[in-house]
């Protein structure tokens, strides 16, 4: 049955609306305001139009940070999504091990992000870290502070360590919600393991996978604290992602105009790409006539 139409429902939404409006719209207006203005200090501002936008979009600094971010998000998604699915598929479905697995896997998600950076900083150092020391031991000269490739490897490893569990938990919750009858029917239909995955598990996970992809994309695209602590954006600017650059510009150099313009562009890119993921994934394998109910 359809939900009834009732505008009085707005009373329920009002607190959320007020709260979020105050903490989102006012700051956002500030940002927008700055992005169109220039200053010579002393709180004197004048209209700068789209100048900052043009500057930001044309700057190599922004472009390379954006490219780094895109590459990083792509690598993260390509590793974490399949890995997360695979681990979720292999997890036990009942018994005490479920709780043990879930608790241990969720642990990295609840560690403050800078501590995550610290943990990996300590773990990866070749003088005092288990990982760095072990790599030295097998003859690899590991120094992520000097090598661009190595710094990327450790940042990606850290993110995989930090966030794959989110994908696992999402997929797992999707998997356990599949009624037993589907597996039984598949066994009776003689379906192979692969076909069960392809025709039952994957379609039934579509919704949670959408959430996983969106969350992982957004968060990896916004990543700030962990690489900031781990590599400080270096060596050079090899791991300087958009957020790191933005904070450097806004708070470090106090270039409010360009920083604000960059914020807006940054935000819009995330919105756009999220929308693309959303549209592609909800329409995948679905006719226009029969959209899933998750569509809202």
């Amino acid at each position: 049955m359809d939900k009834p139409f009732d505008n009085r429902a707005w009373f329920f939404v009002l607190p959320v609306f007020v709260l979020v409006a105050i903490s989102a719209i006012i700051p956002l207006m500030t940002v927008v305001n700055y992005s169109f203005q220039d200053t010579f200090g002393n709180n004197v501002f004048f209209w700068a139009g789209f100048e900052w936008y043009a500057d930001v979009l044309a700057s190599d600094r922004f472009r390379s940070a954006l490219l780094r971010n895109l590459l990083f998000s792509a690598i993260i998604l390509l590793i974490e999504i399949p890995l997360g699915i695979a681990i979720a598929l292999c997890m036990p479905r009942k018994g005490v091990w479920v709780s043990v697995c879930l608790v241990l896997m969720a642990l990295p998600l609840l560690i403050p992000w800078n501590v995550v950076g610290t943990i990996w900083q300590v773990f990866g150092r070749s003088d005092i870290g288990l990982l760095g020391r072990s790599l030295e031991f097998v003859g690899i000269d590991f120094n992520y502070g000097q090598s661009a490739i190595q710094s990327w490897i450790i940042v990606v490893m850290m993110d995989v360590w930090h966030w794959t569990s989110l994908v696992v938990l999402l997929c797992y919750s999707g998997l356990v919600a599949i009624p037993e009858a589907y597996y039984q029917a598949a066994r009776i239909d003689g379906a192979s393991r692969w076909k069960v995955f392809l025709h039952i598990q994957l379609p039934k996970m579509q919704r949670v996978l959408l959430i996983a992809v969106l969350l992982r994309f957004m968060d990896s695209f916004m990543i700030y604290t962990e690489p900031f602590v781990l590599t400080g954006g270096g060596p050079g600017t090899t791991t300087t992602f958009l957020s790191i650059d933005l904070v450097k510009m806004a708070i470090g150099q106090f270039d409010l105009g360009p920083a604000a313009a960059m914020s807006i562009i940054y935000f819009l890119i995330i919105l756009l790409l999220s929308w693309v993921f959303y549209t592609v994934m909800t329409n995948f394998g679905v006719n226009a006539a029969d959209r899933p109910e998750a569509d809202r």
């Binding site: 969720a106 560690i111 696992v168």
Partner: protein, 308 residues
């Protein structure tokens, strides 16, 4: 309702015996003994290997941190040991002996709790509205809420600072809690809406037909029904607020400085006291671990956001 007389004479008619229900429930859960995927290939030992390896990978860095937290600084720097050779609690003593250290924990917990309470209390009615009614602009509103989750904290750091400065809220717990609401409220609404939609609307209607007023129904019937959803939403609010650093650091100077921000101090401190840093890190993991332990039975359901 076998009734009396003739029917009763048929002896074996089902009144409500407990054996009957036991059987019924047993029957509703058929084939539980053979794993759903048994016979579909895949050695079960090999299957157990994958999560095991993954957990080992997760635990190693954490283990290393714990290991270090029990070592003296010179053992950390000069030798390489898999276990502390001279286990010490000195690093923890440093933290618990210095208010600027342990105060950070208290500050963090205060704003996390405020944030969780505020987020949930505004999200509950909103989620109810979204799950039960259509109204003017509902879809746009819902989408707009979610876009806030997509806003990079870095974008908001500076304007937040200015906004809260204007209200004189800088360096207060409330400031951080309110700022985090921007990210947590949309998520809480989303999660709760999912759980609420899993509750049949007929239950609401039955309550209204029975004569319940809305507040009474909401508190007495509805909230207990979605208790697990509230738990999960609280978990997510806690999680974000506890782990976030950028905004928390920007909005605080000394009085409400979160532990994670206090920690960054040692990073640049002279001679890097690795042992204390590790101990502080270990202590930041503990609240999270406790929270997970309490919601462990809801995690699987919670991540499905109440419906799949």
């Amino acid at each position: 309702m076998s009734g009396e007389g003739a029917r009763g004479g048929a002896g074996a008619i089902p009144p409500s015996t407990s054996a009957e229900e036991a059987l019924e429930r047993a029957e509703e859960a058929p084939a539980k003994e053979s794993s759903p995927l048994a016979g579909l290939g895949g050695n079960s030992r090999l299957k157990a290997l994958v999560p095991t390896l993954y957990i080992v990978f997760l635990m190693l860095p954490i283990y290393w941190l714990i290991n270090m937290s029990f070592k003296h600084n010179n053992e950390i720097v000069s030798t390489f040991t898999l276990f502390p050779e001279n286990p010490t609690l000195d690093n923890y003593r440093v933290i618990f002996g210095d208010p600027s250290w342990y105060g950070g924990y208290i500050d963090s917990l205060i704003y996390v709790v405020i944030n969780t309470l505020v987020s949930l209390s505004v999200a509950l009615p909103a989620a109810y509205a979204f799950s039960r009614y259509r109204f003017l602009g509902d879809k746009h509103m819902f989408f707009w809420l979610l876009t806030n989750r997509m806003a990079p904290p870095a974008v908001f750091a500076l304007p937040f600072f200015q906004l809260y400065s204007a209200f004189g809220l800088i360096d207060t717990h409330v400031a951080v809690a309110l700022a985090h609401c921007l990210f947590n409220v949309p998520l809480a609404v989303w999660i709760l809406e999912g759980f609420m939609s899993g509750v049949p609307r007929e239950i609401d209607e039955t309550a209204f037909v029975d004569g319940y007023s809305f507040p009474r129904f909401f508190v007495k019937i509805f909230i207990p029904l979605i208790a697990s959803g509230i738990g999960v939403a609280a978990f997510f609010c806690f999680m974000f607020s506890w782990v976030e650093l950028l905004i928390a650091r920007t909005l605080t100077v000394t009085d409400a400085k979160p532990i994670s921000a206090v920690m960054t101090r040692t990073n640049s401190a002279t001679g890097l006291d690795w042992g204390v840093l590790a101990a502080a890190g270990v202590l930041t993991i503990i609240p999270g671990a406790l929270v997970i332990y309490f919601v462990r039975n809801y995690i699987a359901k919670g991540f499905a956001l109440g419906r799949v």
